[in-house]
Every structure is written in structure tokens, then in C-alpha cells.
Amino acid sequence: MLAHLPILQVIVPLLAAPSCIILRRPGWVWLFALLVSGSAFLISIALLQQVMDSGVIVYELGGWEAPWGIEYRIDKLNAILGLIITGISTIVLLAAHTSIQEEIPEDRQTLFYVLYLLSLAGMLGIVTTGDAFNVFVFLEISSLSAYALIALGRDRRALWASYQYLIMGSIGATFILIGIGLMYQMTGTLNMEDLSRRLPEVAQTRTVFTAFAFLIVGICLKLALFPLHLWLPNAYAYAPSIVTAFLAATATKVALYLLIRFTYSVFGGSFSFTTLPLQTIFVVLGLLGVFAASITAIYQKNVKLLFAYSSVAQIGYMIVGYSINSTAGLTATLLHMFNHALMKGALFLALGAVMYRIGSVELRDFHGLGRQMPFTMAAIVVGSLSLIGVPLTVGFVSKWYLVLAAIENGWWPVAVLILLGSLLAIVYTWKIVEAAYFKAPQAGNEQVREAPLSFLIPVWMLVSANIYFGIDTRLSVQVATAAAQSLFGVGP
């Protein structure tokens, strides 16, 4: 059975989704979904271990060898992504039952879990596959289910946000489709490994250049890179809390993975960074994203919207690390992907708890919550500290590596700007702390109690992971470095 782990990781949630329709009862479906996600998590741990020990795992679907059939190819990079996605999804699902009962009508709850599992399966499919067209198919599975999940939000603005996301997402997907088509036309293959062998022969043609440009733009739309981020804040802000926690922690990471996979593995780092002035474009856009989004975040009155803008800013950091184009920079990006998933998972889940108790996440409703919901607010504070990058939290680790990588590359101004960006994070998170601890509760909110344990446990699992990986950095750094090195083709 061990040999089948790569495919099992994807098809377990994929086939569990239709089975939910047969189960029908929301309570059972939740338990079932939790089990499925948990087993996918265990599989991804086993896979990571296997990859770290013995290198790349290849799995031929249908028994057809690579360029003719579709293959799954798992190296260190996708093993990490699989771990992030399944881990976050499992922890978020722990809280889902309580939150969903409050936020979604009874007759839609089963459908919610079906869509959730489909989204999970879609993302896992994207990160494990070694075939360019298969990426497109699974991208659509995950995005279609994400559109529907977002539209399930209670607020009617959720519908509008979801529609905008659908249009932007479909444009992105069609761009990716054009890119894949152009690559296929020039090489005659869809397999990533095979593409990377055959692309250098035709690398100087204008067609390949166009293919590359379309892929990058399409992926950046999905990635919500500034200035293509317009769909993201609203979509995150008005989706059901569980969906926000899950998508914010995983969806953009998957897009970033695609960007890294296509630039480094398929086109090759030297092609990617010489044909287009990619480095300059990305470093400028990344930093602009950090500042523009952080400043917008300061003016938000809705805390979910505030953290959504902060997500755009964090994507900026990851892109800066990526654009440094060195092992150190990529390590920092991968670390930040992992860490940001932990932070944003914890933060949005805690917001879900607030939503559960007071039915709103407007800043003015946070007044006095510090005393009424001490554990939830403490979690938000720790998450915010991590977002700022205070030592002993994960946020510090990734920022540290990012600054080091920038300095190593001689980019002093960039390093300074990264630190300045963190200052902005202090400003916008301070607003929440101020509201929660230094203001008297709003009228009508005096009777609010602490969130139920079904929220607190998953939230604090994520928060303690935040602190644990902030102190003991060996594991995460070792894995991230190994993955970055393997992309650059050095090291073991």
C-alpha cells in the first residue's frame, strides 16, 4: 500500500466528497470529513518522510509511463505543500461543526462539507501532479468549489465577492490554459519533467516567451499578487469563517507553489530570470504590495477585511523572497508559506470564534472582548505578534531569513523596506488590541462569554504551533532548505 500513497492522498478526499451526499446527515458528514482530512494528513506526513529519506517519488497513473500517461511526481517541495494543506484543513475542520451550525442553514451543511472536501482534493491534486494539463483540471476543481463556498457566506456581499472571484479566477485559468497550449505546441508534451527537457531547445522562440508570460500572469491572478489582488479581500471577508480560515491559509500558497514549480522546474531558473526582467518586476510588485496592502489594512473597520489585506501584504513578502532568486531567498519564501499558513489559520479561526459569539467582526464590536473572551483574544494577540515578526514566534523566523537573504544578495534597501513593512503591521494589529483591551464593551455585548472548547482547542493548537516552530526552528528550516536546494539542483 505504501507505494500508492501519492495517489491515495488525493483520491481519498476526492472520492469522500460524493460519498458525503450518500451519508446526508450533517453531523455524520462532519465526522467523516474530519476522518478523511485526518488520514490525508497522516499520508502527507508519511510522504514527507519518504521523500526526505529516499528522494523523488514517481507514480504512474493508469500504469502508462510518463509523457503518454499522467504521472504524480513528489519531491520535497510538494511534500511540504501537502503537509501544510492537509494539516490546516484538519485543524480547521475540528472547529467546523460548531461554526457551521451557526452560519449556514441546515439544508446546506452537507453540501458545505462536500464542497470543502472537493476544494481540499483539488489543491492536493495541483500540488502533487507532474502534468501541466492536470494542473488546470484540478485548479478548476478547487476554484469552483471555492467560489461556491464563498458564496455560502451570510452577508449578501459574499455573492458579489464570489462573482468577482469567479470572473478573475476564470480569466486566470484561461490564461494558464493558453500558456499550456503554447508550450504544448512547441514541445509536443504536457509532462513537466519532459517539458523541462524539451523546452531549452526552443527557448529562444517568441512563442515560448509568450507562453511563459501568459502562465505567469495567469498564476499571479490566482496568487492575488498586487495589483491583481482586488478579488481577494472581499472574498475572504464575507465568506463563512471556516472557509476563510481554510482558504486564507492554503489557496494562495498553492498558487505560489505553481509559480515556483513553473519557473524553476519547468522553464528552469536561468530562463525564467533572464528572458523577462522578472526579478525587478517581482521585487517592485512585492514591496508595493506590502506597503499598499498594509496601509489599506490600517483603515479597515472590519477585522476580517483587515486581516485579508494583511494576507495580500504577506504574499508580497513571499514574492520578494522568491524574486531574490537564491537558495536563501527561496528558503525564506517556503518558510514564510508554512508560517503564514499557521498564523492566518489561527487568526481567522479565532475570528470565527468571535463571529460565533457576537455575530460580527466589526472593529467596534471588539470593544472589551479582552476580558470577555480572554483565550480567544490572547490567541489573536499571539497571532498578531507573529504577523509582526516578534522573536519567539514563527513570523520572526521567516522575516529573519528573508532579511538575511536580501542582505546576502546585497539588497540593503529591500531589507530595510521589509523591516519598515513590519512596522505597519504593528499599527494595524494595535488597533485590534486597543479595541479589545482598552475600550469598554458595546451596549448589548456585555453578556458575551468565552468561545466553546471546540473552537479554543483548534485555535490554540495552531497558536502553540506558532510558538513551537518559532523556538525550535530546526525541523522547518531543514525541510525548507532541502526543498530550496533541490530546486536549484544543489545539495543532496
Binding site: 500508492h4 495517489i7 483520491i11 476526492l14 472520492l15 466528497a17 460524493p18 460519498s19 451526499i21 450518500i22 507514480y59 504512474e60 497513473l61 493508469g62 500504469g63 502508462w64 509523457p67 503518454w68 500517461g69 499522467i70 439544508d107 446546506r108 453540501l111 458545505f112 462536500v114 464542497l115 472537493l118 482534493a121 491534486g125 502534468d131 494539463f133 492536470n134 483540471v137 484540478f138 478548476e140 476543481i141 469552483l144 468549489s145 461556491a148 458564496a151 455560502l152 493558453i178 503554447l182 504544448y184 505546441q185 512547441m186 514541445t187 509536443g188 508534451t189 504536457l190 526552443v202 522562440t205 517568441r206 512563442t207 515560448v208 516567451f209 509568450t210 507562453a211 508570460a213 501568459f214
Partner: protein, 330 residues
């Protein structure tokens, strides 16, 4: 060439027109014309699907939506200069990209030389199905097709989550009286439909099981099957159709289709092969491939039919509700 010219004309007309009804009909014609174009380019399977989807289902869904949302588009293009700039840049980039392409129809293009020849030369020995598209679709790249089935299933679940409303079963005499009043109005249509539906179903079955030898397969058959049901429900009223086809049952069917496909893969794992390795379904690899493709196509047909019906029922049901509410408020 002429067809492409038509396509451009239609696309420009769609940009200019403000009457959404006309726009939708034109987009249906666009689908049909591109299907004809696919035939001239020897892509019969694709043409079949595009005709069924682009000219059929998509147009139908849009029509239902337009009846609900209103017929005319009124705002001016508010950001057309920006849009034009973006579009021009992308267009120029694409044209620039075409300059190094192998010529249209050239025999020695890389796409013709690398992966495809294996399918053309060996699929007969390896799979034993004359229609190469079917063998690539269901076997060589069977996993993509599983993904495709899941995509359509996702769409069905998504539409359900967005539009489903609790329909109280109407009283029988209500249905009967509506039916009687409709009967006179639509007499000719109803009679002809009753004659046609068995043939449509027969044709769907033919397409389903003939996919190995000619154009067709589970997806196209599913769409045709669904078309028959939709035709029925359009002429005999939604509530009658709802009583014939129960909603929970059809949801169950859409899930079962995916599960059939998936379990073929799981069985091949249990038989000691890789996921979706049909060779191991039977003692003889070619027979195994046949069996696998048959089952898989059944799964596709099942899911596609039920999802299309789910989508249409929910669209139409929602529109009916909306109309009723508007009439009440007016």
C-alpha cells in the same frame, strides 16, 4: 476560413448588442459555428461536445437566467479605454507569440512528432478501440477525465448550494388543472415531444455505447439524456417533472457516477496495479481495457446526466419562484 469570418462577425455583434436575449442566441450560434469549424479540422468528438454544450446547454441556462434577470443591458462601458488597452497589449503579445509557431497544418510540428504518434500507432494493440480520442480520454489520460467528472460534479453541488430552495410538493389537483390548461395551448408540441423523446433516449444510448467506434461517449450521451428530460419538463411543467424524477435520487446518482469511476481505479489498485490501470481488471489486458472504458464511460454518463438535470431544475425552479414573488409584490 469562411466559418472563422462568421465567428468574428458574431463576436463583434455580441459586443455591440444590448439586447441580452439576442446576445444569448448569438452566443449559441457561435457555439454551433465553432462546432462546425471543429468538424472541418477533423475534431469530431470535440465538435459533438461543443454542439451539445455551447449551442445547447449553455444557451439554455443563459436563457433561463435572462428571463429572470431582465432582458436589456443598460450601463455604458464605463472603463472601456482601460479595457481596450489591456486587451490590445494581450492581443499584440499573442500575435507576437504566433510568429515563431509552426505553420497551420504542418506535418512536422513538434506536437505531431513527440507524444501523439504513440497514441496513433499503438493504441490499437494496447487498448483495442478504434476511436483514438476515446482511448486517450478514458485510458492514457483517464485521470484527467476523472478530474473532469469531478469538476462537473462540483458544479452541480455548487448550483445546489446556491439555488436550491425547498419546494413544497404541490397538490395533485393543482398540477392536473395546470396540465389541462396547458394541454390545449401546447397540444402540437406535446404530441411531437412524446413521439421524439424515446428516439432521443435511444440516440443517447447509442452515443453512450458507440463511443469506442465513433465520435461520442459518456459525456455527450449524458448531455443528450439530460436534454430529453429537460424537454419533457419544459413542456409538461416543472412540478410534473419533479414528481417523475425525485431530487434526492438524482443527487444520489450524480455522486454514484463519480464513485463508479473512482472505484474502477480502486479495484485496479486492489488487483495490484496502479490507480486506473485497466489492464488488471481482466486476465486479458485488452479485455480489461474494454471493461474499464465501458465502466468509466457509464460513470461519466451517469454524473453528467444527473448534474445537468440538477442544474436545470434549480435554475428553472428559482426563476419560477422569483416570477411568482414579483407577481405577488406587483
Amino acid at each position: 476560413m469562411v466559418l472563422l469570418g462568421f465567428l468574428v462577425c458574431i463576436a463583434i455583434a455580441i459586443v455591440r448588442l444590448k439586447d441580452l436575449f439576442a446576445v444569448v442566441m448569438l452566443s449559441g450560434i457561435y457555439g454551433l459555428l465553432s462546432a462546425s469549424f471543429f468538424v472541418t479540422l477533423d475534431a469530431v468528438d470535440v465538435a459533438f461536445t461543443e454542439a451539445a454544450v455551447g449551442a445547447g446547454i449553455a444557451t439554455l441556462l443563459m436563457l433561463v437566467t435572462v428571463t429572470m434577470t431582465g432582458r436589456y443591458e443598460h450601463s455604458a462601458h464605463h472603463n472601456s479605454i482601460w479595457a481596450l488597452a489591456v486587451v490590445l497589449v494581450t492581443g499584440v503579445l499573442l500575435i507576437y507569440g504566433t510568429l515563431d509557431m509552426p505553420y497551420f497544418g504542418s506535418v512536422d510540428a513538434p506536437a505531431q512528432l513527440h507524444v501523439a504518434p504513440r497514441y496513433i500507432n499503438n493504441s490499437m494493440q494496447e487498448i483495442g478501440v478504434p476511436n483514438i480520442v476515446t482511448s486517450v480520454l478514458a485510458s492514457y489520460r483517464g485521470y484527467d477525465t476523472l478530474g473532469e467528472v469531478v469538476v462537473i460534479f462540483t458544479a452541480g453541488v455548487g448550483v445546489l448550494a446556491l439555488l436550491s430552495a425547498v419546494h413544497r410538493p404541490e397538490k395533485d389537483d393543482g398540477i392536473v388543472s395546470v396540465n389541462v390548461s396547458m394541454h390545449e395551448k401546447y397540444l402540437i408540441l406535446r404530441v411531437v415531444t412524446k413521439i421524439l423523446i424515446p428516439f432521443i433516449l435511444l440516440f443517447a444510448l447509442y452515443v453512450q455505447f458507440h463511443g469506442d467506434y465513433g465520435p461520442g461517449g459518456g459525456f455527450q450521451a449524458g448531455v443528450i439524456f439530460a436534454a430529453a428530460i429537460i424537454l419533457y419538463s419544459m413542456l409538461f411543467g416543472m412540478s410534473t417533472a419533479r414528481r417523475v424524477i425525485s431530487q434526492p435520487l438524482i443527487q444520489l446518482l450524480s455522486a454514484i457516477g463519480v464513485l463508479v469511476y473512482g472505484s474502477v481505479g480502486v479495484v485496479s489498485i486492489l488487483n495490484g496495479g496502479n490507480f486506473l490501470d485497466y489492464n488488471l481488471l481482466s486476465d486479458d489486458p485488452v479485455a480489461g481495457q474494454h471493461l474499464g472504458i465501458l465502466l468509466v464511460e457509464l460513470g461519466i454518463g451517469c454524473t453528467v446526466t444527473s448534474v445537468m438535470v440538477i442544474i436545470f431544475f434549480n435554475f428553472a425552479g428559482r426563476t419560477e419562484d422569483h416570477m411568482r414573488n414579483e407577481r405577488k409584490s406587483a
